[in-house]
Subunit: 645 residues, 2 copies
Amino acid sequence: MFEIRSKDNLGRTGVLKTEHGEVRTPALMPVIHPGKQTIDVKRFGAEIVITNAYIIYRNPELRDEALRRGVHGLINFDGPVMTDSGSFQLSEYGDVEVENHEIVRFQDEIGTDIGTSLDIPTPPGVSHRRALEEVEITLQRARESLEYRERMMLNAVVQGSTHPDLRRYCASQLAELPVELHPIGAVVPLMESYRYRELVDAVLSSVSELPPSRPRHLMGAGHPMIFALAASMGCDLFDSAAYILYAEDDRLLSTEGTYKLENLQEMPCSCRVCTDYTPSELRGMEAEDRRNLIAEHNLHVSFAEIRKVRQAIYDGSLMELVEERCRAHPRLLEGYRRMSAYVELSERFEPRSKRSAFFYTGPESLGRVEVHRHLQWVKKNLKGRMAIAGPSRKPYSSTLPSSISGFRSMKPQADGEWSVVVADVPFGLIPLELDQVYPLAQSDAPGIMDLEARHFLRELILDLEGDVIISEDLCSELGLQLPHPYSGEVETYVDDLDRIRMIAEYQFGEGAGDALFPDDVRIERSRNTGKIRHIYSGEKLICTMRASDGLFVLSAEGARRLHDGTAYPRCRVAVNEESEPFAREGRSVFAKFIIDCDNNIRAGDEVLIVNAHDELLATGRALLCAEEMMDLNHGQAVKTRKGGF
Amino acid sequence: MFEIRSKDNLGRTGVLKTEHGEVRTPALMPVIHPGKQTIDVKRFGAEIVITNAYIIYRNPELRDEALRRGVHGLINFDGPVMTDSGSFQLSEYGDVEVENHEIVRFQDEIGTDIGTSLDIPTPPGVSHRRALEEVEITLQRARESLEYRERMMLNAVVQGSTHPDLRRYCASQLAELPVELHPIGAVVPLMESYRYRELVDAVLSSVSELPPSRPRHLMGAGHPMIFALAASMGCDLFDSAAYILYAEDDRLLSTEGTYKLENLQEMPCSCRVCTDYTPSELRGMEAEDRRNLIAEHNLHVSFAEIRKVRQAIYDGSLMELVEERCRAHPRLLEGYRRMSAYVELSERFEPRSKRSAFFYTGPESLGRVEVHRHLQWVKKNLKGRMAIAGPSRKPYSSTLPSSISGFRSMKPQADGEWSVVVADVPFGLIPLELDQVYPLAQSDAPGIMDLEARHFLRELILDLEGDVIISEDLCSELGLQLPHPYSGEVETYVDDLDRIRMIAEYQFGEGAGDALFPDDVRIERSRNTGKIRHIYSGEKLICTMRASDGLFVLSAEGARRLHDGTAYPRCRVAVNEESEPFAREGRSVFAKFIIDCDNNIRAGDEVLIVNAHDELLATGRALLCAEEMMDLNHGQAVKTRKGGF
Ligand SMILES: [Mg+2]
Ligand SMILES: [Mg+2]
Ligand SMILES: [Zn+2]
Ligand SMILES: [Zn+2]
């Protein structure tokens, strides 16, 4: 059973529940070598481990002990245990001496929490024909494993080599099976040779077809350099043999890459090992002591990075972490650059509001979902006579002068009214009405603009339909040479009603502005900041503007207005009869009770909770996106507000 | 006394020697509050601390104890102690009740290792007139402090507010005084408000005029986010009160920024505190226990970052670390972008060969010294008929086909011979002859090119003088539309003699190719790699090509040839009479014996060691650049090779 707790891009934190306890995800599973393990991984933060059932199965002593005491006893770990099936050996040696049904049954018998069917780990770069043949075997074995497992959860591995269509095919077929988790397999050769662009293609092709309700395991990913990027692609589980393999080779893991002990003058981290020893002390030690200490360091940095990734998802700063981590190697950056090709996939899962600001940290930031999403809105909604001003401090409407002069344009423009739009990095074009709304207001970029950002703004402006005048400062910053000066002045005043209606349209979609706000609304402002706080119709509160993100929280009256003014399924989450009374009481909506919802819902959205007959029950804030609401069977989906319905 | 041990950009690792022991730099000096300190900073790695002499002076009890037991006894630290003079209080409260001569004498009397004169900490943004007046007072006090100090080393603080010309003026005046260290003062307000662009201007204006032989202390810099950037600007000392101040405010330091404990779900690092406690455990503690544990975390991450910075300088990967760290905040990235304005300053100090590869991790990488330096060479030396090919795997000459067709050009071109030049990121244009030379060969960039890189290549190619044909692939990659197809084939064969002569010119300057290599050289190749290893004239070895960087190591014969074929001071380091016999024996050359050298020498260069009469004594590898050789009085300057002279 898997619950999602917080989300950022395709990444999520969650809880995986097993018979041997809960696991916080993203999670790192240290690889435990049965019979050889000397390091107690629990004290580093391991909540789940992985071991190899094939090795146990093939060794009579280990096998007997596992059958007698269970795998938890054998490896001396009382938390959840995942087992692999021998497909690693298959990829290394080309052959294994076990059948799928034997190894699946064996895993079940020894008490594995999560077992794996014997998939075919097709390597990168093989022909489409061979990859497809092997995918069919992998699929067949996944299907038959369902018959052999009694009690354990089942991993069904996505294969397909470096053919994205086959990854999608395999994933979509596996999605139909009642299995619990999905490893993404045979990617180790890509990671070993820094082919991160192909890794991104393999992972995102798979993830695009996998149900969001099941954890995905990036098999063999044990280098902390990759955790943030992989988590941002929706991977929930990693396994590390790297901690010990690298240690045996005197190599120290780090999020910036790998250090060889022989080259170290200084210990490069804050862990116990790096604080208590010097590189020359380590070099002077017996091999085994040295190996154990380096393995400890490797575990410390790996688990610290996993914790940092979980924190970043919770904070909504995962992509900032990814953009930082991807500087560890140009090929990692290349992989991240490739991710922008999947922006429409990410958009389906990206929350609409997050705890932290958007940081522009390089041209890649322009490829982020938040920018894509805003530009979609801009293309559809920015029309008419627009006066484009250059960036100023945020919120723009408070720092711009009350009127601006000095504009130029492509063709001569008559005097008259203009709506002011600010051109700025990273969000491109921001109508003044939206200058306090997340993430447009909660963003920052270097004051020294790079060429890509300049090009981005130029193209956006030149693509605008309607009449456009552009401030002279901005023209010269962007290298735009426009023939016609405009002699008039442009007022920067924003009418309150225009502002709140545009925010409503931005937040709830077309028509929401008129639906929510009659012409005679009454607006209350914060005494401290002067910002809009409450909006009333007469004495009735319609909504409150949340200070943190400038978006609206609906009152019962506001919810009724939105409900009346829009058609099903807009902004709706429909729940079944059983949960109707709970929703009416303001209790949170659990995913399993949801029978339908607006496809356009994203985590962070204000939603209307209705029953099957579209009767309004409550309002609340979505914790999941539409696809997750429909797919998940565990955990909260909407945090409901006490109603008045 | 300060020695430089390794270098990268303007950064250096070094050793500062004091009466109370040696300090490895860059170093972090925890601020110790006299009478209040509860944390033993030594166990976190502190080799030097800083405390405030003004606080001690103004408190009768502390003053008596300091005078009786010395400052080391007072604060219970037996390593080097630096003291500040009260100028912090001056900046905070506008006034101090002490005179410069009193506080300087007092510091000397209580046994401070490094004392500070009472400078005026002029804040950012004040008028040029006021800043200049205060700089004059600061200078006057620095001068008179020399009379009052008996034994301690003396800090002379660079001020000048946000006026770069005044920072330069102040620094150049202080450079004339026989003081030992230079704090760069009054930058805390810039760091607190993320004005990193102005910080870069203040620091680099100062550093440009300060003698390289003296450590520079970035006063008040205690956030690990800034250490890498500051070190790359030549700062050697940092001081941290942040570790405890942030802890008192429940804030955790990190190289990615600052975490508030209230927002933490996970402990974000690998230190003991983060491994042993959860955020909610910390939140549940008594304030003092919590503060101490957070302070411990803050010290662990700060010292880990200092060690990582030192390691990066040693590895030659400091700029890669800076480029990663600057993603922590857009304003930090802006500061780094500003650094490229100082590339000519950095060039004077940047080593010519380093241990690690050049990673392109964003458009800013194109502003790095290595690129600037190579392009200077390209502009001066790339001439004639050039066939520009697109990037291939390195080394290009091994992966390009033996002949290429499909070129286009601006004007019609006649058939004939072409030299092949590869256009690639980040080095722009690389003649095939140099395709194994550092850093051209030891570099990597993402396979997905960004707009800035494309623009960079396009501009370089369009600026080329001479006849140029460009491969069609490259034309389409760069969006170049050239009217004339070239129908001929271009050979990619590189003649060995052409190759080694061009490398010699690249390494030793104009004329070195002919000076070193007669037409009848004999070339020996590596059996394993097929690469050139040894070059002989008859039986006499001229030089060896170093496998790690593709540059030449001179034999005695090679040195004689280079010496004969070039005029003084080219490639020369001239030593005094005293050290002549040691140099002849192959003993390393110490900086203090150097009487003259070629201005163009950089760390990593092969140099000729001569006496005052330009008689050749030995060859060796420079460890310092020309300015450092002339300015430093301690430590090695050239690692000499056993001679045969
Ligand atoms: Mg953020
Ligand atoms: Mg490097
Ligand atoms: Zn460590
Ligand atoms: Zn920590």
